[in-house]
Amino acid sequence: MQIILDFFREHIELIYIVILMIFLGIEIIGRVPSVLHTPLMSGANAIHGVVIIGAIIVMGKAESDNYLALILGFLAVVLGTLNVVGGFVVTDRMLEMFKKKK
């Protein structure tokens, strides 16, 4: 019990952000037409690629003799970049087609 209470007290600021973001996330896409489901999913997919920041931090702080951190960190940055770049490019490609003939 004490652990849980401490957890809340220490992270109250982050918990606020989490709660507000949950409502915001639901609110802003609440009225999306089904036509846009696919591009929206793809766009959201690109946004969670923000996890790459963590990968960069892991990579950047790895000491030169910590091979596990170096190798896994390197891999994480490559995969994260794939997620970000691929995600945004493919979403743009999809949306470009919507626009062309309008």
């Binding site: 996330g25 946004i47 790459i52 970049t81 995600g87 919507f98």
Partner: protein, 476 residues
């Protein structure tokens, strides 16, 4: 100074994510929204590389970081540019898996740091030296990231036809047991000795991967979009765990935003397909549907139509509505379809498309495919408008769609798809159905439409049939 600028970078990034996502849900602003979010992402990444400080030290290993980013960018943009529009669902799944793997790898490295720092300590357990929040963020990131990664890879394999559906009796119970052990192992790791906490940790990772595999394996190929959307929100949550870990607000906002929006999108998709999420995940749909169709199987006679008759019929009608479906997407016949449309229009026939919200391989996919083939946006009718137009339509040409035109959804309360909004094609004078065979659609039920007197069947691969129809029209 540097750190303050970095905080501003993260604020800007968070705002662009929110703004981008909002704009993405409106057709007029969607493309700009995507670019804005991408811009925010670049700011966040650049800020992290050059301004981030870890215990007062700037980040190092720039060569590694930049080469990794270059490799990822080149592969990512090449794949994204080259892929066929019909392969879009599996590509999104693939990229999602990469994000999940990234989150899992970060957490694994962070766990390794903890383990190395504490393994020689004489504290009795991990819980004595590691704050619970820190551990929770690491373990949750690891588990959710792993499940998301392996699940997305399986979904990718299924959509590209490399992995077959697989389920066994009692699989749901098995999954629950595995999930229980994942959580149990995660807790056990926290309370195990600092000397060898790495062993239960890696067992947790292995179990999470096992769970991910069996979570997605039994779900049918046509339900994959829903699963991908769900895994998409999983990855969002895994990214948010990273935000907790590094006290990084950009990761936290971006991750939770996608987690929440992704969950809602999953539910919206289910609703558009008239399914509940539980139904998709447990996958009882196929079984129940089979029983229902057996009970109501009142087979009639089907009528086939020859290609030349079909071409003739369409050429001499006033208005033709095309109902494209999954079969058209699979056959990649969208371009041929557009040519047929043009050929008919030259003969003075009015041609429109009736798009069901879940036509194609995932919601909204058909609009992308037809847009790729240069079909005029104004000729695409949404369901409600289309249902109005059917009354004055002479010929409806159904291309590989099935469940979305099944009248059972309207008149048969015992049908598993009862209540699903459909395209009411039977309002039109004649209906031509192109299908590869009489096999039922993914709901697994018979379609009474095919037995109606005004319906005629035109069997064959959508692309081949369309090409032949086109040739017939040109010879006329």
């Amino acid at each position: 100074m540097g750190l303050s600028i970095l905080s501003i970078c993260y604020v800007v990034a968070s705002v662009t994510f929110i703004l981008g996502l909002k704009m993405l849900s409106n057709p007029a602003t969607a493309r700009r929204g995507n670019l804005i979010a991408a811009g925010g992402m670049i700011i966040a990444i650049a800020g992290t590389i050059f301004l981030y400080e870890n215990d007062g030290k700037r980040l190092g290993n720039y060569t590694w970081i930049f080469s990794a980013i270059i490799i990822g960018s080149v592969i990512g943009s090449l794949v994204a540019k080259k892929v066929k529009m019909t392969a879009m669902p599996e590509l999104v799944s693939f990229f999602n898996g990469m994000g999940g793997a990234c989150a899992a790898l970060i957490s694994i490295v962070e766990f390794d740091y903890l383990y190395r720092a504490n393994r020689l300590m004489d504290a009795t357990s991990f819980s004595d030296v590691v704050p619970s929040g820190h551990y929770l963020a690491i373990i949750a990131g690891t588990i959710i990231g792993s499940v998301s990664f392996i699940g997305s890879m399986i979904a990718w394999g299924k959509l590209s036809g490399k992995v077959k559906d697989y389920s066994f009796k009692g699989q749901h119970l098995f999954n629950l047991v595995v999930l229980f052990f994942v959580v149990a192992m995660a807790v056990y790791t926290y309370f195990s000795s600092t000397h060898h906490a790495n062993i239960p940790f890696f067992i947790t990772v292995a179990l999470a991967i096992l769970y991910g595999v069996f979570f997605v394996l039994p779900i049918g190929g046509a339900d994959m979009p829903v699963v991908i959307s769900l895994l998409n929100s999983f990855t969002g949550i895994a990214a948010a765990c990273g935000g907790f870990l590094y006290d990084n607000k950009a990761m936290l906002t971006g991750g939770i935003l996608v987690g929440a929006a992704g969950t809602l999108l999953t539910i919206l998709m289910c609703r558009a397909m008239n399914r509940s999420l539980k139904n998709v995940l447990i996958g009882s749909f196929g079984g129940g549907a089979k029983a229902a169709s057996d009970a109501t199987s009142t087979h009639g006679n089907i009528k086939e139509i020859s290609l030349s008759d079909a071409a003739m019929l369409m050429a001499y009608s006033k208005k033709v509505m095309i109902v494209p479906g999954y079969g058209l997407a699979v056959a990649q016949a969208q371009h041929t379809c557009h040519e047929l449309e043009k050929a008919l229009e030259e003969k003075g026939v009015e041609v429109k498309y009736a798009i069901h919200p879940v036509a194609g391989r995932m919601p909204g996919h058909m609009n992308v495919l037809l847009a790729e083939a240069d079909v005029n946006y104004e000729n695409l009718l949404e369901m409600d408008d289309a249902n109005e137009e059917f009354k004055s339509t002479d010929v409806v040409l159904i291309l590989g769609a099935n469940d979305v035109v099944n009248p059972a959804a309207k008149n048969d309360p015992s049908s598993p798809i009862y209540g699903m909004p459909i395209l009411e094609v039977e309002l039109a004078k004649t209906v031509i159905v192109n299908k590869r065979s009489m096999k039922p659609g993914y709901a697994g039920i018979e379609n009474q439409l095919f037995y109606q007197p005004k319906t005629s069947m035109l069997f064959g691969d959508a692309k081949k049939v369309l090409q032949e129809l086109l040739a017939e029209l040109k010879n006329m």
